[in-house]
Symmetry: C2
Subunit: 235 residues, 2 copies
């Protein structure tokens, strides 16, 4: 029975990793839908979010059952609590990917993004997708160094967002208010996806090392991750 139990713990991690792949696909497809005004793809991403939520609920059920039936020891319990937080991260990332598609749908048949701004959004989508994949890799490999590298990728996202604001606030911005509002919200969605990826990676680091990565605390992602792991002195 104990063996089956540990298999179940492994299953939960495997399921979390699968969910990151689903989210990564959603992020990439949403970005494509946005850049090419592809309404079919946008609708598919929005519809697929329900399946992601269902997958998440499935993981929650498994976690809850293990907690209730197996009286997990502290290490296992820490893993199960982290799994619950990661499910919440993944469901939220799925929502955010769907939000990107909803902007594509709102502006359809017009393209939401003017040609000159496509490269910025494309890059944001690409960085966000890479970060989600990175979080999946970290869950799979438990590679602490890869988790740390994810924070560097997140810095890229911050730079892209700063750059985006600079473009919009320039007096010569020619695209008007509607585009600016769309771009500002899209930037926020991609940034939040990235934050959640960082939070997930930090949770894994905490599980592996028992310590939080250095960068924790001050940043938005930091406070997210802070919320996600039992305090080191709390176990």
């Amino acid at each position: 029975m104990r063996d089956t139990y540990h298999e179940q713990l492994d299953d939960i991690l495997a399921e979390l990793e699968r969910m990151t792949r689903t989210v990564s696909t959603a992020v990439r497809r949403s970005t494509t839908a946005l850049l090419t005004a592809d309404i079919r793809q946008a609708e598919e991403v929005i519809a697929a979010d329900i399946q992601l939520d269902a997958a998440g609920e499935g993981v929650e059920e498994k976690v809850f059952e293990l907690m209730a039936r197996q009286a997990p020891v502290a290490n296992e319990l820490r893993m199960l609590v982290a799994a619950l937080r990661m499910v919440a991260d993944l469901e939220r990332m799925g929502d955010l990917a769907a939000h990107v598609s909803k902007i594509a749908r709102l502006r359809y048949p017009a393209p939401a993004i003017p040609d000159e701004l496509k490269s910025v959004i494309e890059e944001m989508g690409s960085v966000a997708g890479r970060m989600v994949d990175g979080a999946g890799d970290v869950i799979k490999t438990r590679d602490v160094e890869a988790a740390t590298k994810l924070e560097t990728v997140d810095d890229e996202m911050d730079k892209l967002r700063t750059n985006q604001f600079r473009l919009m606030m320039d007096d010569s911005w020619p695209h008007g208010v509607e585009v600016a509002v769309d771009i500002a919200l899209l930037g926020r969605y991609y940034e939040r996806i990235a934050d959640h990826a960082v939070s997930m990676a930090r949770r894994v680091v905490y599980l592996v090392t028992g310590e939080l990565p250095v960068a924790i605390g001050g940043t938005a992602a930091g406070s997210g991750a802070g919320a996600s792991t039992p305090s080191p002195n709390g176990n």
Copy 2:
């Protein structure tokens, strides 16, 4: 020992309620800081967010200890898991309140909000504050009806946001891109605070009744709450 245990469970709920009062104050003070360009108040809200995170970590520690040492039965476990989710909601709401203050700080000494738009923002801040208080009341009273009423207040928030977009997208919008971007992001922050309040109330309903409120699923708040409670058929 069992008595102390149940006292500890009650303490956790009391602490969560206290945290909602802290968040509610932060939301109201941030709105005032924003509307009156009050940099001191903005800085205080931003600084106080660290204490909220610390309070959240304290609750997490207590929850984790109870889980590890007391082998809670299903009902208690469900409550503890919900408490973890509510802590995450509250920490996130605190971050969002701080984001509001950061916009006030960014534009200081200029006021971030033009006079004609102050009433919209004031109302958003007021609705958000009421909803946070409402979530606190629901935790305290476990009143299912009050939780349901919170969903109606959330509809007000949605209307305010739609109205805000209508103003900004009007060709005669006179405030330029910078203000539009600030307003769009502020609207998003207040909306998310409201979503978290609804999620918290739903969690309490689920704890009390064993069933999720009807409105769950489709909306953004719905998917948040969906992530937050163990699936009804999962326990």
